[in-house]
Symmetry: C2
Subunit: 108 residues, 2 copies
């Protein structure tokens, strides 16, 4: 999906190497990620279809993509339990809580 030789890619690379904030920002950048994270902060455990109910406009593709990225980034884990597949925040994911609430509370 990403081309590993392009000015675009290299610039992003350089920035995240140089600036920790950019690295952090990357983790939560993506159309639906904030909503997914907030929903997990509230509900602790969510299935694919739970998310779809919460965000009727999201496509299966985007949902799966974001979940995969966040899993790869170790923000969430996927577990198969007797009654289905569930996503949960990892400790790393939970530690974003402060940032997320700051974003939510910020005004003017």
């Amino acid at each position: 999906m990403r081309k590993e030789s392009s000015t675009n890619f290299e610039n992003q690379q350089t920035l995240t190497d140089f600036c920790n904030a950019s690295k952090t920002l990357q983790l939560i950048s993506g159309r639906w990620k904030l909503s997914l994270l907030f929903s997990l902060l509230e509900h602790d455990r969510r299935s694919f279809s739970n998310f779809k109910q919460l965000l009727p406009a999201i496509s299966d593709r985007m949902l799966a993509l974001h979940l995969k990225q966040m899993t790869d980034d170790l923000l969430i884990t996927k577990e198969k339990i007797e009654d289905g597949v569930f996503y949960t925040l990892t400790e790393k994911g939970k530690s974003l809580k402060k940032i997320l609430s700051n974003l939510a509370e910020w005004q003017i």
Copy 2:
């Protein structure tokens, strides 16, 4: 640049309306914005060429684009002073400081 009728656009719209954090995130999303903001937090006043020195890899176009967006978003102001054009943080811009440091300090 943005098409005002597309699922893509509408989804973004809905999310920022629904979720304040998304609105906030929008303000700081953009390849070089964090670096520009951090630089203004440190130096208070910067010119176009100051930014270019700081970020040799940025193109004139992207620099101008980000500066314009941040100006439109009222995060910065542009002032023509005797020795050139300078950009400064507004109060609104400064109030992002906490969020920015949280992003920068976040680890693991």
